[in-house]
């Protein structure tokens, strides 16, 4: 379910690092919690983001949620396909539903985030809290 080459934040963002570029999205758990996504607000290319800073917002039918950057860097690409097809976030949150790409300030910064095994345990706990 959760790709082994991603890192995960407690706020349910993922980041995939390739060289000095990081691709960022929200996890399957997060999209499932949000429900049907209808609008996405993303930063402008060139924007500087710090880890933990709001990168944009995702509007589902029932609520709006802020998305936080899991890393520090400059925005070098945004997923323009989401403007007309925000449902990609529900359908393929880990691939075509990506949000932005960052030129990372520090490639090692993401090592503090969870790996896929740790994240799976984390969301399993969350699911238990919900059903309790």
């Amino acid at each position: 379910m959760y790709p082994a080459d991603f890192r995960y934040s407690k706020d349910h963002e993922w980041i995939k690092t390739e060289g000095d570029t990081g691709t960022i999205g929200i996890t399957d758990y997060a999209q499932n919690e949000l429900g049907d996504v209808v609008f996405v607000e993303l930063p402008k290319i060139g924007a500087q983001l710090k880890a933990g800073q709001t990168l944009g917002s995702i509007e589902s039918v029932k609520a709006v949620s802020e998305v936080f950057s899991p890393a520090t860097g400059e925005v070098v690409a945004t997923n323009e396909a989401l403007a007309n097809s925000p449902e990609k976030i529900n359908q393929e949150p880990h691939t075509s539903g990506w949000l932005i790409r960052l030129k990372l300030a520090d490639k090692n910064e993401t090592s503090a985030l969870m790996d896929s095994a740790a994240y799976e345990t984390y969301v399993a706990e969350k699911a238990k809290e919900h059903s309790a």
Binding site: G35, V38, K62
Partner: protein, 345 residues
Amino acid sequence: MVNFGGWDMPLEYSGILAEHEAVRTRAGIFDVSHMGEIEILGAQSLDLVQHVTCNDARHLADRQIQYSGLMTPAGTFVDDLLVHRISPTHYFLCVNASNQDGDFDHIAAHNNFDARVQNNGDDYSLLAIQGPKAEALLQGFTDIALSGIRYYHLAFGKVDGVSAMIARTGYTGEDGFEIYFDPEYSEQIWTNLLRAGAPEGIIPCGLGARNTLRLEAGMCLYGHEIDETTTPWEAGLGWICKVDKGDFLGREILVKQKAEGLARKLVGFEMLDKRIGRDGYPVAIAGAEIGRVTSGGPAPFLKKNIGMAYVPLNQSALDTEIEIIIRETPVPARIVAMPFYKRPK
């Protein structure tokens, strides 16, 4: 599951968009057993109903239903409700779940009549079958000729072999039925209706779609458009406020408010870009706040973002350009006529 007035209820089953579309184009089934039922019995039950509600229940025939408001002495809403006349000595009120006990206490406190008030929410399950295919689906489970039940009328009969009250009412803007029956049979009827409906694309629907459907249909939700600070006039519910029917709670104030004119009124708006004005967001004109959004969100069938808000009367005209303040940014919107959606006849 979300906790809603003490009931654990699914916000969605397959997804709000899919459920919304099913109800508009086929049908959907809602378990709304959380709704409260209060029964008024006795020789003067009509007098009690007339005293505490603002609509005129004298005009009801047996097995006819009306939408009404339960009034405070200030002419504001304790709740909104459906008044079902079962017989001249038996009125059946369907009220909001979270208000049920407060409604019961309020009615009982004003019961200076030869009438008995019963708080019977635990005695009934309530399923709503809503959408253009609702009648065809339900007809397969009952001997009652459903085509003979007119809008806002009811009949008694068996549904899936179980004694039930079948009302042609709903909260979605579609044709449909609400069936009241012994909770013992909830699972049976729910399961059997869904099984029969599945080949027709009839699906279970949750509170999320219930809210988007009623918003699109321009219907009020207690705690949002109406509460103990709003009057029927302000809420655009003058059609249920019959001040000429005789005395009732709040009548004097309502007569006075109508004569003096309103300070504010409920309007519908649609967003002019893709952003969504949601419950509680400020409404402004040229940067100056004039009100708050009472309910706002996507209108999935209309493919727009819509909402309702209270604004000053002199700024409530159709086509007025307003701003919804979304995370400190003013976003353009326009006042439009309600209902946003009206089903084709």
